[in-house]
Assembly symmetry: C2
Homo-oligomer: 227 residues x 2
DNA sequence: AGCCTCCCTTGATGTAGGTCATTTGCCCGC
DNA sequence: GCGGGCAAATGACCTACATCAAGGGAGGCT
């Protein structure tokens, strides 16, 4: 089984430990729509995405779905497992068929205790997630849906955008419902706004994929957020 | 100078290191409204609140203020300093006159490298912050202001509420503007909602402080958020 | 082919809440 | 005491957006 992203992750360990560590990560496979863990469950494992896309979400009692984030290959999730008696603070579900690696809290702790640089690497990952969460708060809180969408699209482009003759292609299928879930709005509103963005030549589509045609204009949409 | 909260923090270090570590933390003093660091600055130090209240906020280009969190004695902020070349992802300002301790990234790294349990403690702090940030997302995204306020008030009560004959007192002065900043709304809207909550006997005031009179009712306001 | 499911689109309508404007009350220093 | 500044309260207005509803296109199934 391929382990490209796992290897990369293990590179942050000192060399002597890598082989041993490799054995602590177990491969898993999930189908589309299959849940990996559920919000508020006891957090037993930390996960790494090898292939596919994982959605981190929260479902409200009234059925509304909030998408916290999408995780792509190389991404880590299930931070609750980083300390004793942690719980997951969101649910994780495969958005596309996915392959992941997971390591138990015990094994992870053992690794951390043997390599402080690795501990620092984990720290960096978590702090980066924290920064992202704050960034999202900033984009979502009290802003117009228009801006929130611009914000999300720009983030996606930075994360997984690939340059192309007609613009920056967002390399994952993304429905209006997904976007609505990310920004806390509705399909219909997103549809209207996206239509407008397309009409204005700012966004476009390439098959099933979204394309940012005019990043500058998109940035202008929310530049007063940027301080 | 008193160092109650610093001592507690240092208790997570192995005993042999404490005395030495104590010297790495420098005391600071800030007046009301004085900024401790600014959003996007290079993160040089990690901070610990000894006394007073610190506000973590972000100012948008259009002047709107988003309050990410309040930090009370024992609280840690400035996570950007937890890894090399980090930057602060929010501004920190003293909301009341405050005393803090700070440690530089270099010194901190030295400590972490000598005590893995301490590293795990830091990790726990950061993950807890991450969970909080997600919790906030969940409360804010696409919810009515009413619910967002209930959410914030309940969080405050859990954090710094003290029981009293007339209810749960939130032990810090909190203006409508503060609340508006926390939930991404406006003073006026908050005022209207708070008036209603007071009329309904759910909230009340005790001098300058807010009191939760009926926590059950407040919980009911947002129980469909709770899944 | 026909059907079903999923997604997008567009319209009509009601309302939460942002914005502007005014008034009142409180605290502080003089 | 009086005046100035700051927070709260309340009203009027208007727009962004959630909600309900209907229709259309694309892809996959039998």
């Amino acid at each position: 089984m391929e382990d490209h992203h796992l290897s990369e992750f293990l590179n942050h360990l000192e060399e002597g430990l890598r082989k041993e560590a490799r054995e602590l990560f177990k491969p898993e496979r999930y189908d589309r729509e299959q849940y990996i863990f559920i919000d508020q469950e006891e957090a037993t494992h930390l996960y790494l995405v090898e292939e596919g896309t994982v959605e981190a979400n929260i479902v409200h009692g009234d059925g509304k779905l909030l998408i916290l984030d999408f995780l792509y290959p190389g991404g880590v999730f299930g931070e609750g497992a980083l300390y004793e008696d942690g719980i997951y603070s969101y649910s994780a579900v495969a958005k596309e068929p996915a392959r992941t690696w997971r390591i138990s809290w015990d094994d992870l702790q053992w690794l951390v205790s043997r390599d402080q640089l690795f501990a620092l690497h984990l720290m960096r990952i978590v702090v980066a997630k924290l920064d992202q969460a704050y960034y999202k708060d900033r984009c979502i809180a009290g802003e117009k849906v228009e801006k929130r969408i611009a914000c999300v699209l720009l983030k996606m482009v930075d994360e997984i955008g690939i340059s192309d003759k007609c613009g920056l292609v967002i390399d994952t299928p993304l429905t209006n419902r997904d976007i609505a879930g990310l920004v806390g709005s509705t399909e219909e509103t997103v549809s209207r706004i996206m239509s407008r963005l397309k009409k204005e030549g700012i966004m476009g589509t390439e098959g099933k994929l979204l394309v940012v045609r005019d990043k500058k204009a998109l940035l202008a949409y929310f530049d007063d957020i940027q301080a």
